[in-house]
Each structure stands twice: as C-alpha cells, then as structure tokens.
C-alpha cells in the first residue's frame, strides 16, 4: 500500500502477516505488520486461535471440576493456576488451610515458577538462534518435571491442588528430589548467565528492544516480571501476602530499562529468589495433615468413605452435587509466573459456579505488543514476543 508519512513523504509499505502458525509465535498468535523495508511501521494483533470457551465450560460442572480446566490456562506452570483458583474459593469459604498444605503449596508454586521462567528464557534463546542455553535450561526443568511425575502422576497438566487441600501429600524422598533439582537449577543459572550476560549477539538483539515505560506498562495493566522489568516493584507475594510469603527471606526483583533484555534477566533473577524460598520452605515442612477436615469443602478420603458412614455420605454428596460455595461476588488475584492471575467468581450458592472470569496476565501484555514493536525491525518482534512469554492457553482461554 502507498502511504504518506507524517512528513508528507511517499512510502510504499508492504503488509506482512506473521503467524498464527509461525515457529516463534508460540501457541497461536497472529499479527499483521506494515513494513517499510525491514522496519515495522504499524502492527495489529489478532488473538483467539486457542479460544476453548473455558468460562462457558466451567459453568457446566461442579466447583471441583474447574481445577483440571485451570491447568490448561498457563500450561507451563499448571499447578500454580490450580493453587490460584483454589485459593480464591477457599477465601470465599473463609477457611485456613493446614500449615503443611501451605508450605507444600509454596514449594510447588515456586518450583512451577522456576519451570515457567526457564521455559520462557530457553524459548527466547531458541528464537534468537541459541540452542545451547535451551539445553542448559531444560536439564533442571526435566528434573522438576520428574518430581511432578512422582508427585502427581502427570508431567504437564497436573491438577495437584484441591479446594481445601491437595490431591495428596508429598511422597517419600520428596525433599531430597527437590534439593537435587534446586542444585541443578543453580548450576544451570550459572551456565545461562555465562551464555548471555556478555554475549554480544544476544545483547545486540535484546538491549533497548521493545522498551516500555513504567507509566505505560501500568496503564496497560501489566503485572509480574514484565512490569517489574520496567522498574515497578510490584509483587502480590509482598503486597498482599498469602501463604506466609512475607515471612520468607527474599527480594522483589526489578529491572531498570523495561526492555527485552531486562525482562529475561528479571526472570533469571526471580529463579534465584524462588530457589531461596523453596530452600527455606523445605526447612519448615513439618509432618501434619494437608487437607481441611470438612466434608462440605474437601472430599473425605477413600479410607473414610469406605469405613465410615458420614465419610461415604460426604463423598457422595460432594461428588454428585458439588461443594456449595457461599453466595457472592469475589475477585482474587495471585502472583503467578507471568503476573497477576485473577479470578472473578460469582457464586449463587449452588454446587456449580455461576460465572468465573479469568484475568490472564498475558492478555494485557499482548495488548501492548504493537507499541513495543512499532519502529523496530521485524526480527526484533520475535525477540519481544518471546521476552513477554505469551502463553496462548491463558491468553485465549
């Protein structure tokens, strides 16, 4: 198309479509760019290629049946989504979960965060042509995946948390496995830093690319590592602490430039902080129950159901009718790997959710994508996209 630029000069722009099935548009994202040579003049995005109707589907089941659906939001850190949803419902009940459950949730939360950040950084490297760091990051990730396998029976979509507890207690040798994974995580971090901190090619591709100011990021509703990379120390684990996060010794990581490099570096530094938290949590892990003992919230165990009349009734009722969440409207946000994962929950007091609205952290970040890439090179848009860590599963729901 032929256009006049703001100075009145004639330009011949080429519209170029990127995605939805492009190797660097992880998941399914599409954007249409107007190119002047190799420079992006304007860009518009389209999303929805992975829209499954999460919010419609969950209205048809019981409250417990929502949990496996939440796995499919951010599938890189599935357990985190489970926990965020269960926490929201538990807050509506106004119940406290047992101490061991809290500590276990902190451990799996932070391990998921490590996992998610590793995937993001590794994929960003891969998109920029670096395969070695990808392997460095995926080694510890594999160890955490093996822990998931032992703990939950699944690698990717685990469905580990339950409303009022966990699917099961940890297995024997869990602590040793986690410690081993933490050690290899730290080793991988050293290797990754060696690969990228002074790597001219990588720095040229990421420093100053896709910059966003703190004000703009806030106006776009950015949360999580991407916002922190712009220099805003905002983390729900510190701001609105839950699961005693405030009692652990760790720091909120912030960047300075708000560019692509900062977003990746913030993630790597956050992995370090997560390792710190997990190490402290392992020390706090004392024996005890993991589930709330209340058949109206948590399904009674098989043992109770087979030996005890009350347990059998409780199990039957909560499986067939679903638990009855108190009537009301509630918004609850938790700090997930990409930012604030929020659930607006409308309950009519019956066994089925009336309406659940997910606030995916990715959506706000992808909404600002055109501002990040306009004026840059087409190749830079790939670096920006992978630095944002857009997960189509939660973007499109």
């Amino acid at each position: 198309m032929i256009v006049l630029d703001p100075n009145g000069e004639k330009l011949n722009l080429m519209p170029l479509n990127v995605g939805p099935s492009h190797p660097a548009t992880h998941g399914c994202l599409r954007f249409l760019t107007a190119l002047d040579g190799e420079t992006i003049v304007a860009s518009v995005e389209e999303i929805g290629y992975l829209h499954r109707g999460f919010e419609k589907m969950v209205e048809r089941g019981t409250w417990q049946q929502v949990v496996p659906y939440t796995d499919r939001l951010n599938y890189c850190s599935a357990i985190m989504n489970n926990i965020a949803f269960c926490r929201a419902v538990e807050n509506m009940f106004g119940v406290e979960i047992p101490e061991r459950c809290k500590v276990l949730r902190v451990i799996v939360n932070e391990l998921s965060r490590i996992n998610d950040h590793f995937v993001c950084v590794a994929a960003a490297f891969q998109d920029l042509g670096g395969t070695t760091p990808f392997m460095y990051a995926f080694n510890p990730r594999e160890e955490i995946m093996c822990i998931w396998e032992k703990l939950t029976g699944a690698r990717l979509t685990n469905s580990f948390a339950r409303i009022g507890g966990l699917y099961r207690d940890s297995y024997e040798g869990f602590e040793q496995d986690v410690l081993a994974a933490l050690n290899s995580t730290e080793k991988a971090l050293k290797d990754l830093h060696a690969c990228l901190d002074r790597n001219r090619i990588f720095l040229d591709r990421t420093v100053g690319i896709g910059k966003i100011s703190a004000e703009k990021a806030i106006s776009y509703g950015w949360t999580g590592p991407c916002l922190r990379a712009s220099g805003v120390a905002s983390d729900l684990r510190k701001d609105e602490p839950y699961y005693d996060y405030e009692t652990y010794d760790w720091e909120v990581v912030v960047g300075t430039q708000g560019d692509c490099n900062d977003r990746l570096q913030v993630r790597l530094a956050e992995i370090e902080e997560s390792v710190k938290i997990v190490r402290q949590a392992l020390k706090r892990l004392a024996p005890g129950p993991v589930d709330i003992v209340d058949p109206r919230i948590r399904v009674p165990s098989h043992k109770l159901a087979y030996q005890d009349m009350e347990g059998l009734i409780g199990r039957f009722k909560s499986v067939y009718e679903g638990i009855r969440v108190p009537e009301g409207e509630y918004y609850c946000g938790s700090e997930c790997a990409n930012g604030e994962l929020g659930f607006t929950i409308i309950s009519d007091g019956s066994g089925h959710p009336y309406r659940i609205k997910v606030r995916p952290p990715c959506l706000t970040q992808f909404a600002a994508f055109h501002e990040l890439v306009e004026g840059g090179l087409l190749a830079d848009s790939m670096a920006v996209l992978s630095g944002l860590n857009i997960i189509a599963g939660e973007l499109d729901r």
Partner: protein
C-alpha cells in the same frame, strides 16, 4: 485514606450503592451515566490513586436464583500501585433493552481489549470505543456465547481468518500516516473472501 473512605466519597459524588453480594471486598454499584466520571475520580482525584485497571468482567444474571433488576452487569476491578493492597470494584447494571455502557478506554489502555472481550462474549456495547470488534471469538461467529441462553453445545461453521488489513490501515492513520493507495487485497465487502475458501 482507606478504601472505605473512597467508597464514602463515591457515595456522596456519584450516588453509588454498596453491593451486598461482595462480602469480601468493596464493590460500588454505579449508574451507567456516572461510570466514566467515577472511574476518572478513582484514577486521578481520590486519595488512593487506582491507577491500574485489573479486569473487566461481564455477568449475565438470566438464570441467577431470585435475581431482580437488569439482566446484565459489567464489573470493573481496580488496584492501586502506590498503595499496595488497595482494591475496589465498580459494577454497572445493564438492561437487555439498553445494552450500552460508556467506554473507559480513554483512561486505561488495556480497557480497549477488555471491553472488546465483554462485547464479544455478552454483546454489551461500549459507547465511544474506538474499535469495538470481537476479541476471542471468530469474526464470523453469530451470537454471544457467555450469555446464559447460548447453548454450550451449539456449533457454527467458521471458515476464514480475520480480515486485518482495514485495522492495519486504521492503525497507520492513528500514527499519522495517510493511506493514498490501498493494497489490492483490501475489498471490505468482498463476498468471495467473507464466504471463505472452504465451501460447505
């Protein structure tokens, strides 16, 4: 200043009501004509500056037990960056006959996509929105799927990609460019294209 005081100020200025269903936080029910001003007040003037729009959610009360009043609602969640932990929600009731709510996309950049999503899923029209298109559902999709009377099992035949070139031109104009010759692919009422390449 606490959120309670902000709510009291809102009550005095915009005649809002406390939503009794929100037992865990503060939700102010505001009439649609006051919405824009109320949001501006929350963002700029109130003691706690609610500078981040966290979420916009549509609600359809069609099958809600013993519900009285308008069928739809749009709920806005805000949080403050300067006062961590301060949150407030606003709610606008929307009747089926007059599905209109003023846009707040001029105040918050992310409201643009959130409002598009509510329009897409519930059919609520945001007056003054610069680009009210579907967000998650397909361009050829008919109906609004999150309404309670939309059957979950219903299937629709969708054939083609979203036609983004007109939006790209719009974006270029926003940036100060002037399109003098359109790309030859741009034919906004090209039936052949809209029907799609796959024929039933």
């Amino acid at each position: 200043m606490t959120v309670e005081e902000i709510f009291a100020a809102l009550e005095g200025k915009f005649d809002v009501k406390r939503e009794p269903l929100d037992k865990w936080g503060i939700t102010a029910v505001v009439a649609a004509p006051y919405l824009h001003n109320a949001v501006q007040f929350l963002k700029e003037e109130s003691g706690i500056k609610f500078d981040m729009l966290v979420d916009i959610a549509g609600i359809d009360y069609l099958t809600y037990p013993n519900h009285e009043g308008p069928r739809f609602a749009v709920s806005y969640a805000f949080k403050s960056m300067k006062n961590p932990g301060a949150r407030i929600r606003l709610k606008v009731l929307v009747s089926e006959e007059n599905l209109k709510v003023p846009t707040i996309s001029d105040l918050y950049a992310n409201a643009n996509w959130y409002e598009r999503e509510v329009y897409d899923q519930f059919g609520v029209i945001f007056e003054g929105h610069p680009d009210l298109r579907r967000l998650l559902n397909h361009v050829e999709f008919v109906g609004h799927p999150l309404r309670k009377d939309y059957p979950a099992q219903k299937r629709q035949w969708l054939s083609t990609n979203d036609y983004l070139l007109p939006e790209l031109e719009k974006r270029l104009e926003e940036l100060g460019y002037k399109v003098i010759q359109r790309s030859k692919e741009v034919e906004t009422n090209d039936n052949e294209f809209l029907e799609g390449s796959i024929k039933e």
